[in-house]
């Protein structure tokens, strides 16, 4: 909650590109540039809201949907005509997948996400693309991520075995 450096806010903001507005479609890119500012300001807005209030805030002409999981806040910046309730559901969907991936019993831990921010991004990339939902099955996402992780593991093993061979050869 207090830790605004938590990458999740970044992830969610950065991930949302569902805009029809400017043809350059680059406001999110701009977001990244000013993301520290975004996080401070938006973080301030969201953290100031009480627990029972609704999960939507209007922020600089955009709508921000946020959801709190223990100390973590997930937020998404959406267009005016997007379905807010669905976005809440997408956030929950993502959190459930993260939960399953990091294997924690109940909820994703903040530290998991900070130390494995790249993995959080990989999962997000399987869930959302170009700001749109691409998969509604948690199982499929988990399967795809597992397949890619195993590809990486195999590559690593190969690399280490090669370096071992080289090391032995040069001994």
């Amino acid at each position: 909650m207090k830790d605004l450096n938590c990458p999740n806010i970044n992830i969610e903001i950065a991930a949302q590109q569902r805009q029809q507005k400017s043809e350059s479609g680059s406001w999110l890119r701009c977001f990244r540039r000013i993301q520290i500012f975004v996080i401070r300001e938006l973080g301030g807005v969201i953290l100031n809201r009480g627990p029972k209030l609704c999960n939507f805030v209007d922020w600089r002409g955009f709508k921000v949907v946020y959801k709190r999981y223990a100390s973590l806040y997930f937020c998404m910046c959406i267009d005016q005509d997007d379905n807010e309730l669905e976005v809440l559901e997408i956030i929950h969907h993502y959190v459930e997948i993260l939960d399953r991936y990091f294997g924690s019993v109940s909820e994703v831990c903040e530290l998991d996400l900070i130390f494995n921010f790249h993995k959080a991004y990989y999962i997000l990339d399987e869930l959302l693309l170009a700001g749109e939902l691409q998969e509604s099955s948690k199982k499929t996402v988990a399967r795809l991520i597992a397949a890619q992780d195993s590809l990486v593991e195999t590559a690593k093993e190969q690399a280490s075995s090669i370096s071992n061979i080289i090391a032995q050869a040069t001994k």
């Binding site: 209007d58 807010e84 693309l129 998969e135 099955s137």
Partner: protein, 903 residues
Amino acid sequence: MNPFSSGTRLRDMIRAIRSCKTAAEERAVVRKECAAIRAAISENDQDYRHRNLAKLMFIHMLGYPTHFGQMECLKLIASSGFPEKRIGYLGLMLLLDERQEVLMLVTNSLKQDLNHSNQYIIGLALCALGNICSAEMARDLAPEVERLLQFRDPNIRKKAALCSIRIIKKVPDLAENFINPAASLLREKHHGVLITGIQLCTDLCKVSSEALEYFREKCTEGLVKTLKDMANSPYAPEYDIAGITDPFLHIRLLKLLRILGQGDADASDCMNDILAQVATKIESNKNAGNAILYECVGTIMSIEDNGGLRVLAINILGRFLSNRDNNIRYVALNMLMKAITVDAQAVQRHRATILECVKDSDASIRKKALDLVYLLVNESNVKPLTKELIEYLEASDQEFKGVLTAKICSLVEKFSPEKIWYIDQMLKVLSEAGNFVKDEVWHALIVVISNASDLHGYSVRALYRAFQTSAEQETLVRVAVWCIGEYGDMLVNNVGMLDIEEPITVSASLSIESSVAGSLLGSLSASLKIFVTESDAVDALEVSIKRHNSDLTTKAMALIALLKLSSRFPSCSERIKDIILQNKRSFVLELQQRSIEFNCILQKHQNIRSALVERMPVLDEATFSGRRAGSLPTSVSTSTGTARNLPNGIAKPAAAPVADLLDLSSDDAPAPSSSGGDFLQDLLGVDLSPASAPPGTSQPPKAGTDVLLDLLSIGTSPPAQSSSSASNILSSIQDDKASLANLNGLASLTSLSPNATSASPAPMMDLLDGFGPSPQRKEENGPAYPSLVAYESSTLRMTFNISKQPGNPQTTLIQAIFTNLSPNVYNDFLFQAAVPKFLQLHLDPASSNTLPASGNGSITQSMKVTNSQHGKKSLVMRIRIAYKINNKDVLEEGQVSNFPRDL
């Protein structure tokens, strides 16, 4: 080993950064880390490239510059292994944006990866393309993406579909290539592909009408069937959320149907049944179900009219509105806002509930509800709704007051059925949240009050009352001060008392009387006189000047109001002088200067004071806004910032006499016409600018300034542009004897005012100070013209002797000779003349103000006319002659247009 070399693991770096206590420490860690990464980059270190990039991404997320790592991304993408590509593409998406030229270099790698044999690598490339694709890349890679829409693995097909969305958004021309493959995606069974395919179709419809037609014709039925299958599908654990199979798919289907049904009766017909089924069957006890219902209502509202469905939808919204969950209420308000264009009546039914939402504890809901109420207001319900909103204004928190006030003010202005209601409501807003009111709002209020001549008294009394209770509201104080200054006499004399008014009960010192008067309440008007005395009104102004938290604007306005009251309340004028004098030592230049100027007016220029402080003419409502927007050069030239904020404040009251000149029609009733101000008003009220002043309307004050400048600044090259020109001119009289022209102008004004000439010749001479017109000059005049009878009635003849000054063809000297043709003596004879804008007129004092009977003598009066368009236009003049026969006022008017052409 150096802990910050490229040898540190990502985990260690994150730990090091997180353990930093201060921002400076963090910067130091990041700096060292970046230096190490730079070194590794320049050594072209391969082993740790992916680790360095991961670190850079983290550093980037903290907000530090990481541009030096961009090329590393490209190198990683170009390498052959999956792990390198994976992190490389992630870096590409995070660190780069589409405006960077580096991105051009990646197109080729993307193209190769889109054709890779490993489907996961294709997936990475599609993902990156979908997130960062630029228009050029879209053109280059569209064929690859199009081909991948038919890839054997569904996970690639779905990625390709979303990637296509980005492409057609970037280059809408490419849309037609995607129509057919998109349509075939709609027949898929795989949910991921179906969801993305539907999304692609939706976006295609948005960019291409051709696509919309195609899908409407070919796919509507299929989509309806898919939705039907979904709605009736048995439990599917993989996609189940809260008992509903794949709400995401539901929602996307409804969204696409909305676009297809919009504006097409056949397509709308086709989907009626399934929409009704969804709207009735979906459970609304979980968020997922509500999300579908919400989307369904949106679709029903957008497609072609079907009364039954609409009722169903509005009922769902009604249920949403009374839901306890704030999220649901929020979306209900959101949807009602869209529904209001379709069915305003139905939305009006929920008015009471919506009004309750304005008072919600949740800021987001309050704001939405307020927006909605704003849309709901019309002429018929403005009164109750405004009442509710204003009542709520008292209870709302500070943060919300600003928005709320702005909305109320705008509503009141827009829909106000009558002026008195408008004034009442604005007064309530000002007393409640005056500090949140924008300048233009209270300016507008002043304009309205000024225009409602029958409500002047009411307004000033109401404001005075509000001022007693809410003196901390700055804008209220300003409006009150302005009105007391303008209509202070009505406050005291109880002019224009309305039936609804209650007597003012104020002032502790008068409490005894008030209790006495309480029993006499029957005669309201009588009791009112007891309550507000002249000195009470002055008290109010004094309070607002002396209050420490009054801002400069208010103080300055109060000062001007005091000046005005000095002539309205002769009994208080000594006290007013004292208050004004106290500001002589003000640290604020503006106040100090005004105080000195006003003091001069009070002390030395009694004769013109009443003219200067005349009531302002009616402010023109139509020109008000335009004037505010465009024409503030006058106040810009004044050095203090306040004048700029104060188009209605300091500037106007100071320029009041100026504006008076223009008063064509309005204030007929007040003030006997003996004062110089009225004289001026009459003088110029005749026909000043023929082009822009239809009789009966008041003229924009701006033009009035010009006229005054014309009138007063003959010969001075840069006319005083300050909006407070009147007082400037006065002050220049004090200390700047050089401005002969100004003096002449004033001299002619004062001398023409009969009571000035008769009552106080001494100060006038003071003013003139030897600059009075010398009769000798006339003898030196140039070519003479035949005298002409300018005006003749049965009782009076006016002859003009016209001459020119040598070497000054523009100026014409005219000697007017008045002859009495009747057997009665004319007393208080007064000649007034007005000329169009291109002329400038000087009137010298008349030789006498008594005209003997039957032609036994005459009055002569000289004037000087300067024609700025000499040679193009000839002279023309309106005249008015007033005199008394046996103490009875007589007025004659006419136009002189028979001047010789070449004057």
